[in-house]
Symmetry: C2
């Protein structure tokens, strides 16, 4: 019989749902706390989401940006990891319901992150491509390479264009970085791999509903980014929304139509709260309302951190903090501290977000960064971007492999991983069923 | 409309089916020949099969042992690559039938390799796991890690054992290397990642129908290998076959039963010839009978090389050459030479196989090799094995990434890529359908 088999401990149990930036930083900080930490995640790895776009554009191996959670915590004796899908919570009984059985908690922390938000547009949701998970990124890579291979089999430019037009929706860092990477595919890989396909048949669009890209940055940086994207050949459309998309044609709010079989949606994210929480603390964007201690309203021992949590008491961020890694990391660390204080019956410390700055890369030698009240762009920003991301990657092996891939790509203009891993062999059907298709 | 869109050329067209060791070596040697080369493969990459077992045991990323075919041939102007599945041949019309349309040929070369051979045992075929393709290797990795995760959820040792018993069938190099790698998983990874699972619950079996493992090596090497495998804890059973397997229990020819949900089959390979060839030149093992020039009997302009070809005129190998990379490489090169001779109306040169030796690794610091009439084992053989495999890998990036993974693993006893890449998100359904599930 399947059961969580979590050893009973005399110490209070902190159950953390989610092994993203928030969850692992909280868990790490509890290493020497007098608690039993139970970490749950549906995957067995921590995903370094900021580099996901490089996997989908054949720049990095999927394994390079994923780090096994058991590896991270192999030396943390007070932590138990279980790979499990959380299905609900019974707060009256302090019980979490999961795919591997019920798990009792003393303290419960939701660090479940966010999902792609299509804002209720079912047609777009059905046909657009999200990019939040590793398998999505790998499948985008497969799909993109396949679009090129299939374009070679067509003669009519009108049939080829929808295959080679790529639309990114959403002008935030993900959209900007994706658009830049696609522009590089066109510039460096297309002429080498597909010399018979005219480059004029491929277009990269970046569509943003607001008046500027990278809206969370300064206006100056937005302008600079917009210009840099146009320089590398991206068609940037601001003040423009996507009204309809059927998998072949996108109809914009301006009435313009773009033929494209690939619409990558990074225009929004939303929380996906677990069943069993009171509806009045769940906001329309799916985030859970928390106080300055990351506590859910009405609960003493249930918390939410990172993307899933919305904290509105900071006057700088009246609509809640941005859904970025830094907030999750800092909230994880602060909550670890607060849990200790709470158990010692001391007053907890309200969360204060220290904005370490943000950055986005546009492509080879080009990035923008706003750190320590300084605005950087171009080559310097690009170097800073690379160093920061390399340092943040978990694990020596991943750092080294990513560094080599970047180094190699810089000097060869090549992308090493543009392979299509197809399924198909008959005798893997069994595996597919078990591993979960 | 989909069509192959292969440009017409005044030069004769050589169509090569398969981008494995045989196909790419033939294609490369034809770089300066007065021919148009059309290379077809169902995948867009060349797979370095000798290291496939390391992908399935979480030692290497799948991308490290795959190299995009377009990358290999980006500078070969007389070559056209198309990703296509070949479905048949109409020899009377010199037409190859493929999933992307009909392709005319002047010379046709089958270099399609081999598939797993279950020797007609349907029950075993249904439940066993083959290991010939990249996706199979990735799925084995996912599956193995999942077996460990699920074992944690069980309390009864009798329920756990079938999950942690791994059976390799076939004592050739693949079976030996797999068994060695699984033994290392038990020795180094299991205590670190799953300290609560007693190692005694995991067994690794290597089952060989003949009297010794590595039958193609000398008896001395076989003995040495057998001892080395036993040293690392593999249960080696020779003179033993698998009679039945239902996905949970393997019944051996000795009557012994082994509980296991994982039976990896590397006990044989077979050719899968294309439809349309005369039946009398297709052998029971699926290989195509060729003469010393790799020509199919009855055809002047159709050839087969590598695993799919059976050449029986070498008295050293009355049953045909072994199905190994070296034969394919050498036949590819020889055929390139012969095609030139043929077009100049000169006499072709019969193939002569130069055995460069063979090797197999058993694990950390242990390998066996027989090269230049010298028998090596232990640390030296292991170093030779690594150097030879690194040098043979295509591409600087792959060499470097594989080297780093090995280097890292050697000093940390860690395996970096033990992650489970699951499918599941709703909005990738469309992608899955197109990319081919």
């Amino acid at each position: 019989m399947i059961q969580p088999n979590i050893p009973e401990s005399a110490q209070p149990r902190v159950v953390i749902v989610g092994g993203g930036f928030g969850g692992i930083n909280l868990a790490k900080q509890l290493k020497h706390a007098p608690v039993q930490v139970v970490l749950l995640d549906r995957n067995n790895y921590h995903l370094f989401q900021p580099l996901l776009y490089q996997v989908s554009t054949a720049g990095l191996e999927p394994d390079s940006i994923a780090f096994p959670l058991r590896g991270i915590f192999s030396k943390q004796k007070n932590l138990v990891f279980r790979m499990a899908e959380v299905t609900g919570v019974r707060t009256a009984d302090n019980i979490l319901e999961t795919g591997i059985g019920e798990i009792r908690y003393d303290y419960l922390v939701f660090a479940t992150g966010s999902n792609t938000n299509f804002f209720g547009n079912k047609a777009i949701e059905q046909h657009a491509i999200g990019m939040k998970s590793l398998i999505e990124a790998v499948q985008i890579r497969n799909y993109v390479v396949k679009q090129f291979e299939e374009s070679l089999l067509l003669k009519d430019p009108e049939e080829i264009k929808p295959k080679l037009n790529f639309i990114m929706v959403g002008g935030g860092p993900t959209g900007v970085e994706l658009a830049g990477a696609f522009a590089e595919l066109r510039k460096y890989i297309m002429p080498k791999d597909y010399p018979t396909l005219p480059q004029s048949l491929m277009e990269v669009y970046l569509i943003e509903a607001g008046p500027r890209v990278l809206a969370s940055f300064s206006e100056k940086t937005s302008e600079h980014t917009m210009k840099a994207l146009q320089d590398v050949g991206v068609k940037v459309l601001v003040n423009t929304g996507v009204k309809e998309y059927d998998g072949n044609t996108a109809i914009l709010s301006t009435g313009e139509k773009i033929q494209s079989q690939s619409l990558l949606w990074s225009a929004g994210v939303k929380g996906v709260p677990v069943a069993g929480l009171p509806q009045d603390i769940i906001l329309p964007n799916g985030r859970i309302l928390v106080n300055e201690f990351n506590q859910l309203k009405g609960f003493n021992n249930i918390f939410a951190i990172g993307d899933i949590a919305q904290m509105t008491n900071d006057p700088r961020f009246p609509k809640g903090y941005p859904m970025v890694a830094q907030v999750a990391i800092q909230q994880g660390k602060n909550l670890a501290h607060n849990l200790r204080l709470m158990m010692e019956n001391k007053t907890m410390k309200g969360f204060y977000y220290k904005d370490l700055g943000s950055m986005a890369t546009i492509g080879r030698n080009r990035a923008v960064a706003e750190i320590f009240n300084t605005r950087l762009s171009g080559y310097i920003a690009w170097m800073v971007w690379m160093v920061v991301h390399l340092m943040s990657l978990l694990g020596f092996r991943n750092k080294l492999v990513v560094f080599i891939n970047w180094f190699y790509r810089y000097f060869t203009f090549d992308r090493g991983t543009r392979i299509i891993i197809k399924r198909g062999a008959a005798n893997i059907v069994k595996l597919r069923q078990t591993v979960g298709s």
